[in-house]
């Protein structure tokens, strides 16, 4: 029988669960699991902490005691007194030089516009989602950028572009008969067109002319960007052609490609740059004004092209033979099977290697300072550090240079990882 029960206390709500003991919660638990899970880990953690401390205890006071507003190094030192710190006023005073070299101040808007439009031109190449129509702008961009940066009459880039168009039209007329004939015809037609247009530009040098800027005035980070963008864009197609040539069944083409690749890879870039600077002049007919930047671009492009060719060759070799056979068995010709089947897959495999070369190439553009071009490094080592005002402010200005390079290189690396994820279709 159930007796009527009277309870002294009846709980109506459930108690909330009590928090787990401190040792099992968030921070402490995380620390224990991740940093102090064993003796060795604890030692490594402490060592790492000490390193971080040592770095920060040097960097932070230097950074926060820094002087941002001064006339010269001496001024900096006076303002700092006992506390040692960075003389960031040097960056403040020289960043225009570091970015633009000795480009005339009043027309900075021209390279800046070219830089902004660069991203518009890149967008359709880098991102599938961007409307394809923008590719026409990408084709026009090199000519537009040349005009903006170097100035002069608009006729030069326009006629250069028209020459390409003429060459292409002749090529597409003749290519049905044979590729070699189309190619030679196209090159010839373009060359004749350019030769003729030389007369036009020399007589009408002021049609829609922007103020001309000489090549020696183009420097700073701008020069690194120009060299980097142009050389990467050119060395990729060159690398593809060399890689395919190396695989070719035609012995002459194959050996030309092999010798080119092996020769260029076997020579230090700096040697090639000296060749560009000094030796090339001997081979050119006297009186030709073959711009130094152009010579340097050719050399860096060849150098990077050879490396990219080897990267792509690895990608081509990684494709199963069945892909070539399937493309052949469907009746695709060589150009079609390469463009539609083989290269898309080989390039996808090669992305990490290509990006590696591209980032390396971009940083190697600073080597032109050795042949006395005033790129970012050249302008720091020369005019800036040699000036009486800023003599000796190595850390600050080189730190600034490092930041500029880091931003671009990190951006390239992040983009390539994103691209690899986008292209991952063959995962099971």
């Amino acid at each position: 029988m159930a007796e009527p029960r009277t309870a002294a206390f009846v709980r109506h709500d459930q108690l909330p669960p009590s928090p787990p003991p401190a040792a099992e919660t968030g921070v402490i638990k995380w620390l224990r699991e991740n940093l102090f899970s064993s003796v060795l880990n604890s030692v490594l953690t402490l060592a790492a902490l000490y390193c971080i401390y040592a770095l920060l205890s040097g960097f932070l006071p230097w950074f926060f005691n820094g002087v941002w507003d001064a006339e010269s190094v001496r001024d900096c030192n006076e303002q700092m007194g006992e506390n040692r710190g960075g003389c960031f006023a040097a960056i403040e005073a020289t960043w225009r030089q570091m970015v633009f070299g000795i480009y005339p101040n009043d027309i900075y808007w021209r390279p800046v516009t070219a830089f902004v439009l660069l991203w518009v031109a890149f967008a359709p190449v880098l991102f599938q989602a961007v409307p394809r129509k923008l590719l026409y702008f990408t084709l026009l961009y090199p000519f537009l950028a040349y005009w903006l940066v170097w100035g002069g009459t608009v006729l030069i880039p326009v006629l250069a572009l028209l020459g390409l168009v003429v060459g292409y039209v002749v090529y597409s007329r003749l290519v049905d008969q044979s590729f070699a004939m189309g190619f030679l015809g196209g090159v010839l037609a373009a060359a004749i067109f350019w030769w003729l247009s030389g007369f036009i530009t020399s007589n009408a040098g002021d049609v829609l002319a922007l103020r001309e800027v000489a090549t020696r005035n183009i420097g700073g980070f701008m020069l690194n960007m120009i060299l980097g963008v142009v050389c990467v864009s050119l060395s990729l197609p060159l690398g593809i052609v060399l890689a395919l040539g190396r695989q070719s069944s035609m012995p002459i083409i194959k050996w030309i490609c092999v010798i080119f690749i092996e020769f260029v890879r076997g020579v230090p870039l700096i040697t090639l740059l000296f060749v560009a600077n000094v030796v090339l002049a001997y081979f050119l007919p006297p009186g030709t004004n073959f711009d130094l930047i152009l010579r340097v671009i050719i050399m860096i492009t060849m150098f990077a092209g050879a490396y990219i060719a080897e990267v792509i060759r690895g990608g081509l070799a990684a494709l199963p033979r069945g892909q070539y056979e399937a493309a052949d068995s469907l009746g695709l010709d060589y150009a079609q099977s390469m463009r539609l089947i083989i290269l898309p897959q080989a390039l996808k495999i090669s992305i990490p290697g290509i990006v590696n070369v591209a980032v390396g190439l971009f940083k190697d553009t600073t080597l032109v300072s050795v042949i006395s071009m005033f790129d970012l490094v050249g302008i720091i080592r020369g005019p800036i550090l040699a000036s009486t005002e800023w003599n000796g402010v190595y850390w600050e200005v080189f730190g600034f240079a490092a930041c500029l390079f880091f931003i671009i290189c990190y951006g390239i690396s992040q983009y390539s990882q994103w691209l690899e994820r986008q292209l991952a279709t063959d995962r099971r």
Binding site: P320, G322, Q323, E325, A326, A327, D328, S329, L330, G331, L332, D333, Q336, L340, I341, P344, Q345, K348, L423, T425, D426, R427, R428
Partner: protein, 262 residues
């Protein structure tokens, strides 16, 4: 297996014209010093369905790969549909676009969707407008019973499905001759029949087929000639019933006993 009701009783009843589709005469091939194919003579009539069998390394793959010039022969002549295979690239491309090939390992293009796999060659080789090529592709994908996979990538399909896509991809070029190189031997057993069904259907529509396979059930059902190869030679050829029940040469008997023995 899916045989339609009015399917012919015996393979020989299926219509074979006396028009020649492929004519191979005195064909020889070497890999370096190794003599892979010896004096091959073979005439295939339009609508014929030929099964090629033989021990491993006997040159079966090499033979059918010579027919669409994936391998080059060194001696003798091969005439496919009136085109003589020589080193002329134009001839080779023409033959290849008329001859479909299905591989052991499917060889689909992994970076393209199923639909793109099927429309690529019609668009670029036949210059078919994209819309029309897609309609044709969907028609053949329905025929191999996987229209719903059209937007997937090959890596997302099972082996049997991939092989059926590979067949559809070849059919989209409207080939007059189909070559199969062990189309079922990379497949799990439960997927073999779905691929064979597709091939049987194709045979019933009168496609000229050369098929390297060890599926003897398939050979009995659709072939009107079985060819036995050994050491680079055609040792024996006959109608399937005769071939299986009454083999002539000792090598054929040995091979059949090995393959049917268990």
């Amino acid at each position: 297996m899916a045989m339609t009701e009015n399917a012919p009783e015996t393979p020989a009843d299926m219509k074979v014209s006396d028009e020649v589709a492929i004519e191979i005469q005195g064909m020889n091939k070497w890999y370096g010093a190794f003599h892979v194919l010896r004096d091959i003579d073979l005439t295939v009539y339009r609508g014929e369905r030929i099964v090629i069998c033989g021990p491993s390394g006997s040159g079966k793959s090499t033979l059918i790969r010579c027919i669409n010039a994936l391998e080059e022969h060194q001696k003798g002549s091969i005439n496919v549909d009136g085109t003589v295979l020589s080193s002329d690239i134009k001839n080779i491309d023409r033959v290849r676009s008329e001859v479909g090939m299905v591989f052991q390992h499917f060889n689909l293009f992994p970076h393209l969707t199923i639909l793109e796999n099927c429309t690529l060659a019609p668009i670029w080789v036949r210059k078919t407008p994209k819309r029309e090529a897609e309609e044709t592709a969907m028609h053949f994908l329905e025929k191999v019973k996987i229209p719903e996979q059209a937007d997937k990538y090959p890596g997302q399909l099972s082996g049997g499905q991939q092989q059926r896509v590979a067949i559809a991809r070849s059919l989209c070029m409207k080939p007059r001759i189909m070559l199969f190189d062990e189309p079922t031997s990379a497949l799990d057993p439960e997927m073999i029949s779905e691929v064979l069904d597709t091939m049987i259907e194709l045979a019933e529509e009168g496609m000229t087929m050369l098929c390297v396979t060890h599926e003897m059930g398939f050979a009995r059902k659709v072939a009107n000639r079985v060819i036995f190869m050994d050491a680079g030679q055609i040792v024996e050829q006959n109608e399937p019933e005769e071939f299986f029940n009454n083999p002539q040469s000792d090598r054929t008997k040995l091979f059949l006993s090995q393959i049917l023995g268990h």
